[in-house]
Symmetry: D2
Subunit: 99 residues, 4 copies
């Protein structure tokens, strides 16, 4: 959205619209799953939808990790890079262990 | 074990309210994440919320897998058990590979 | 390997050789990763190998889950099915949370 | 932060012994799983061991990701940082999807 990516304090504005669009789609998918449970749809079909939401959330998470790396790590002062990288690794650890 | 269990067409009715409550909470969490992205909150905090949603979805998925096993596998005719178990395993595989 | 699968007490004998072959390949892959670390190979290449081992272990785990379902759940007395299914679900939960 | 850190070509030498020790333990665990399969031990117990190996591999992977970030991203020239960060993200993606 803005021409100079690294000059931004926080980041992800370049892909903010894209992230929001994907999150709204995920919200809709979760609502769809609620509807399936309401109608007592076959568990396996519900599970397939849950897998799809998990995959979509993984993509959003990877996008955010990448934004963090692009905006908060690259081009920062070295001490900040150390700290931001530690935060990044902790976040990756939580994602791999899932919460 | 109870006579009514296997006579139910689909299952998970016992925990349907619980599942719906958890899914609505997940939907609210996803909406919360959208708000965080709107406000350009710190990526790492957004990622922590995504991990929490993933963990909550994993719990819902395990609940559904268990319902499937309880209602569709246990007490079914043997041929049905074979088929339902194959479906169960395929669903576990999708959940492990995440979609 | 044996004609009557469900009469076996424990199971997975039909695919035992296959499981062992896959586990020995995984053992070799882990040894290969040790060699890469010894030689200080590029981290990203080591990580790619770790992902491959994880995927191979997931496949072994799915095979074992399926054996458990085939041998210990299907065709068992109903009370046993309930217990074996609970064990199965607990194992799936551990695999999804990774340990 | 230490002067020697960024001057190293590849990295992870500081924790190389630790990584190797952990990988050898994982190799031993995989061999232990082979023994369990040989003896036709109960599938669920084998699965518990597989989950333990997966968790141990996740820790090694996180250690390597962190080394990559510390040695190849932090302190590097900006263009290199961009490239190294992209590699890092691709590796995280593979780990999350497991191979």
């Amino acid at each position: 959205m803005t021409p100079s990516r690294t000059s931004e304090a926080r980041g992800y504005s370049a892909t903010k619209d894209d992230l929001l669009k994907r999150l709204r789609r995920i919200e809709g998918q979760v609502r769809g799953i609620e509807g399936m449970v309401e109608e007592e749809r076959y568990c396996i079909d519900v599970l397939t939808q849950i897998s799809a939401v998990q995959a979509a959330l993984d993509k959003v998470a990877l996008g955010l990790l990448d934004d963090h790396a692009q905006h908060c790590v690259i081009g920062a002062a070295k001490d900040d890079q150390v700290e931001k990288t530690q935060e990044l690794m902790a976040a990756v650890g939580r994602l791999m262990r899932r919460g």
